[in-house]
């Protein structure tokens, strides 16, 4: 928590940590009046954000940065403070402490200038059900102060791109959940935002629509849209984000690239079920070549299962089966288990990802 009142001059942080430039909360405060890391290649900076709702502390000093052209995944359970952070960065809420800049513009003091540079897709598809898809897009284009011709043109292009051209003239009332979400994202892109905020873009979508949404977001990312994405799904953050911050109880508890995070929490695990208890102890030795070096096997003697972190998941099951055969161990079942958000939290905090109720 370091609510430095001084504005940040354009100083680039020395790249001591290689390609990712995130700082954890609770890092010793830089000598005041030191500026936060910033510069032309950093699109978003937040420093020591604090927000209280009555007695509840929703944010307790959140620092984050997004490098231009990258995706930051903000990962955390319900109620962790993800949405509150997004609402502060998008000018909808004022922080009780700390500061934040979008493209170098202070969100607290110049909200309208910030709004001209951002696109926001909230947790619920914010579309006007009574209007058609085209009308929704044109409306937002006009309110973004695009010239009439341009807002129509952009609306048509986005409808085409998001596969909504056929439904463009129908009231949104009749759209499916996936269509609404696509329209919602199209609406946040109409002003060609410099930074896109996606607050849990796949929550509540069926698996098929979720996959569609992922490839849509990947397309945007490939074009270099700077994006902040909040999610409850580790898989989603892994797939879409360049950097990940993990938030719990209003604090950043971990940050890094997906690969770094995975290394820290052990990545995928393989679970081997054997026929007889004595074989349990033999499994780790037999599988030596596929294991993550130094990883601890977890033995469940009742279920006759050994769970072991493995280095990579490609072709791991056949390899495990071959190794077990070669060692003469009779395996009843071999399964690969991907780590979940709960595993991340168990690893990082020692407690499971609690459902904190409403995410505010």
């Amino acid at each position: 928590m370091n609510p430095t009142p001084s504005p940040p001059p354009a100083v680039t942080e020395p790249a001591t940590e290689g390609r990712h430039a995130l700082r954890a909360a609770g890092e010793p405060a830089r000598s005041s009046p030191a500026p936060p890391a910033s510069g032309p290649d950093v699109a978003v900076v937040a420093e020591g954000l604090v927000k209280r709702f009555g007695a509840t502390e929703a944010l307790r000093g959140v620092d984050l940065e997004i490098r231009r052209g990258t995706v930051l995944g903000v990962l955390g359970p319900n109620g962790a403070g993800k949405t509150t952070a997004v609402r502060i960065l998008t000018t909808l809420l004022r922080a009780d402490g700390g500061r934040a800049w979008i493209d170098g513009i202070d969100v607290a003091t110049h909200p309208r200038a910030v709004r001209a540079r951002i696109g926001l897709t909230g947790q619920y598809a914010a579309v006007d059900e009574r209007l058609t898809g085209f009308e929704n897009l044109r409306l937002v284009g006009r309110l973004f102060h695009l010239p009439n011709g341009e807002s129509k043109e952009r609306a048509r292009a986005l409808l085409d791109r998001f596969d909504l051209a056929d439904a463009a003239g129908r009231p949104v009332k009749g759209y499916s959940g996936g269509m609404r979400r696509r329209l919602d994202i199209a609406m946040s892109l109409i002003g060609r935002p410099s930074i896109l905020f996606l607050d849990e873009p796949t929550t509540g979508l069926d698996p098929r629509s979720r996959l569609d949404m992922w490839s849509l977001i990947e397309g945007l990312v490939a074009e270099g849209t700077t994006t902040l994405l909040t999610t409850q799904y580790l898989e989603e953050a892994e797939r879409l984000a360049d950097d990940i911050v993990v938030i719990d109880h209003g604090r950043v508890i971990e940050h890094g690239t997906p690969a770094e995070l995975k290394r820290r929490i052990g990545g995928e695990r393989v679970a081997v079920t054997v026929g007889r208890p004595p074989e349990l102890a033999l499994v780790p030795g037999a599988l030596g070549s596929v294991l993550t070096p130094g990883a601890e096997p977890v033995v469940d003697e009742e279920a006759l299962t050994v769970e072991i972190p493995v280095a990579g998941s490609d072709g791991v099951v056949p390899a495990v089966v071959r190794l077990l055969d070669a060692a003469g161990i009779e395996a009843h079942d071999v399964a690969v288990r991907r780590p979940t958000l709960d595993d991340v939290f168990l690893e990082l905090t020692g407690h499971a990802a609690e459902d904190g109720g409403d995410d505010r």
Binding site: A43, T91, W101, R112, D128, E129, E135
Partner: protein, 279 residues
Amino acid sequence: MTAATTSVTTTAPPPGPISRPVASGPAWLARDCWTEATRHLIATVRNPDLLVFATIQPIMFVVLFVYVFGGAIVVPGGSYVQFVVPGIFAQTVLFGSAFTGIGIAEDMSKGFIDRLRSLPMYPSAVLIGRTLSDLVRNIFTFLIMLAVGFAVGFRLEGGVVDAAVASLLLLGFAYAFSWVQALLGLSVKSVEAANSAGFVWMFPMTFVSSAFVATGSMPGWLQAVADVNPFTIVTNAVRALYNGQDPGADLWYSIAWAAGITVVFAALAARRFASRSRG
């Protein structure tokens, strides 16, 4: 658009690659208000059910009071139709203002207000556009009620100018209350709550008034309440104008009430809307 465009200067690091000035000035405000108003007008035209239901109830009131209760109610001046129809006009447009609060609560519950607040538009245009579109809707409802009034024998006895002044007064009063409803709509947590909060005080306000009976027929304490009720004052003013009588000071008091309510509640609603302290 010839609006002035101001760019924002900050002491922060140089902005990113896209330099996008924020458009401001009265012409942009007007354009934003118009854009928001048309959003609701398109929706109203497309779903006219709401408009139909908004007129059924006052039509039933006209029938009920003129034909059912009318014979039993004695009013000064003699003709109950000439007495009660202006009162029902006033009640109709006032009830029409409730749509403002309900609509705003609906936009809030669906996250649409957040979307609008994240855009570089004028925030005040959200509320101004909404109240203006509700005014248009109210004008339409009022014209239907005027036709219904004529059908049951109501006549404009004061001439066209007086009738026009009376009608403008009614609509202005309803517009003022749109801002009260806007504040309520912004303050409640659900559409249902906006619905109840919008109507619960309008029933006593319109019935404890001179709209349906002369206040002299009420018990003393209630009459005292009814006589200071702004709804009584407005009803008396428009009734006098429609009937070719001199509204006297009631006209100026009515205008003052409408203007005062608009100024106070528009300011409160705008402040509530722009507030960034709530979750």
